[in-house]
Symmetry: C2
Subunit: 339 residues, 2 copies
DNA sequence: TTGAAAGCGGTACCAA
DNA sequence: TTGGTACCGCTTTCAA
């Protein structure tokens, strides 16, 4: 914009080429109703002047930002980064820019999200970043919206990973190994994903005739997981023999706590996570792999359809997950496949 | 924009409030030259209509996007994600949106970067995403620019981490452990960071009276590191006893290769990396920790100064790094401090 | 204190 | 095939 001496405008190109701005616009955007000679002259002048149409002027006239937004809680840990990357990749292919907004724990996420909404043609919202009311309000404004890893809000599209299925698969696997005294480490109230995982965990245990425990609260980081697991594991009376942790970072902390308590993994206690972060492999952690990149990519694809006006009905999709068994949940014969 | 029935404009607010759009604008942006009664009325109407000024209209009139861009090669691995996060955090605090662009290996990064340049008031460029010519061209247009982990291009500001110092520290440390047959795994031509690391590695060995080897080429991932290290370690004649890898992922691959070759780490061979990714800790990998978040944060801060018009001279800064010694480079008495 | 109007930089319709 | 011009939605100067 205001940079440098001043940006070249369509008026200057028109002046130098001896035509009207309308003709410049037509020539440069490839309209067929321009005389070849004229087009050539305009193109030459535009190139010489290094003319680049102002995004702002263009967007205002076209009523399109040619940009998508994505809102997420954070970017630490590979989870969100991968989602964003998948989203950006598809959006870029479609010729759209991507605006990001990390709400983190900063004040007034609502204002920031609404601001973002005013800069884009469509938006993806990840997890518990803004509440249903705000989502509904934005959706009502007509902005195409897709919700990721978050409960649906009509009429936005929703994509989640299969928390229910993966939790059940995990519990069944642990039951198969003979574990019976389960604990769940994580905070269901903090994340929709964890809510789903805990609920399935609970139901699955109940179905197996066991009494499901209350969750042991823990934030999504190694230190918190360590502290939570330590407290749980030192309860000699009711020491659990299987810690189902809400994600890998918590699980990694739990592994430390177990080691410190002198407990063998998986002999004395099994530990599992979610996400399959790189460290999980080195820690021998059993976990659940999720198609995060695909989550983002699908979001961008769906948004594009709504932005371009397809009258698609409201959609929901649950992406499949994959149980990755390593040493932390029991002894296996099968070795992990090398990719 | 075009969503929903139609967005509320300043004209409708003006109409309902019985004033001109000029007055609405003044009232809403807090100009003091508005009668209290008028302001109140305007605010009431605006709230009732849920009026939100169009970002596009505003930006066009103000000549400001109120947005920053950041260009990076990729987002996989914690390195770039952390930089982006630090950048976004500061930018958001300053009331600016953030547009991201991952060049990856996709075609025509230049066009995408130029497009991005037309959407922001300032931009950070990370690593080898676009060449000097493009950088110079953008800088010449007057767009405030800060280069990260990349060679300087006048007159853009530049911030790097201390590759030179960290490489020397690493080599000295390994020399202290008695290692003498060094290999460098990584591709100096692929990344400015690696260039700096390799050069310092080479100089440092030379200064120690050793003959520095040519780098063993490897991309930035575990599989490539594994392959490169395997080839190097099976050279029985000249088998190196210290693999200085250009980043942690390569190093993790090297650790695998060593294990597979039946070589003890650090007994037979030492392995080191850069970045201190989470997995490094679990793999016992000696590495270099870099202030990535700070890199991004500083970039956003510097940009802001230029955007707001400060006539600061061209700046360069080298951020300090920290050697993190673990078991892969030799036996240490000191245990890693728990954070 | 307020309003009229001139931009900001394009797009696209309507005539010529 | 081309030009004139009416927007797009807002900010800000200049008058009143």
């Amino acid at each position: 914009m205001r940079h440098g001496r001043h940006a070249v405008t369509i008026y200057e190109v028109a002046g130098r080429a001896g035509v009207s701005i309308a003709t410049v616009s037509r020539a440069l955007r490839g309209s067929r109703q321009v005389a070849p000679a004229t087009r050539q002259r305009v193109e030459a002048v535009a190139a010489e002047l290094r003319f680049r149409p102002s995004r702002l002027g263009r967007s205002l006239a076209e009523g399109q930002h040619a940009a998508n937004g994505i809102v997420f809680p954070d970017l630490s840990g590979p989870y969100y980064a991968e989602v964003v990357l998948g989203y950006e990749e598809v959006a870029a292919e479609l010729g759209r820019s991507v605006l990001i907004l990390a709400t983190h724990d900063r004040p007034d996420p609502v204002a920031k999200v609404l601001d973002l909404a005013g800069r884009v043609d469509g938006m993806a919202i990840l997890g518990r970043t803004v509440d249903d009311g705000v989502v509904a309000r934005i959706a009502d404004s007509g902005l195409p919206l897709v919700l990721l890893a978050r409960p649906p809000v009509h009429p936005a599209d929703t994509i989640t990973t299969d928390n229910d299925g993966s939790a059940r698969e995990l519990v069944q696997h642990l039951l198969g190994h003979g574990y019976r005294r389960f604990a769940f480490v994580g905070s269901p109230d903090e994340s929709p994903d964890v809510t789903g995982r805990y609920n399935a965990f609970r139901d699955c245990l109940q179905a197996a005739g066991l009494v499901p425990p209350q969750p042991v609260e823990s934030a999504f980081n190694v230190a918190a997981g360590y502290a939570a697991a330590r407290d749980t594991l030192t309860d000699r009376q009711q020491r659990p023999d299987a810690l189902v942790c809400a994600n890998d970072e918590i699980a990694l902390g739990a592994l430390e706590a177990a080691a410190e308590a002198g407990l063998a993994v998986p002999g004395d206690v099994a530990v599992t996570g979610w996400d399959d972060v790189m460290a999980a492999r080195y820690a021998g952690l059993t976990t659940v792999r999720q198609p995060m990149r695909e989550l983002g990519a699908t979001a961008a694809t769906w948004l594009q359809e709504r932005i371009t006006g397809s009258r698609v009905p409201v959609r929901r999709q649950v992406l499949r997950t994959q149980l990755v068994t390593r040493s932390s949940c029991g002894f296996h014969e099968d070795v992990e496949v090398k990719e």
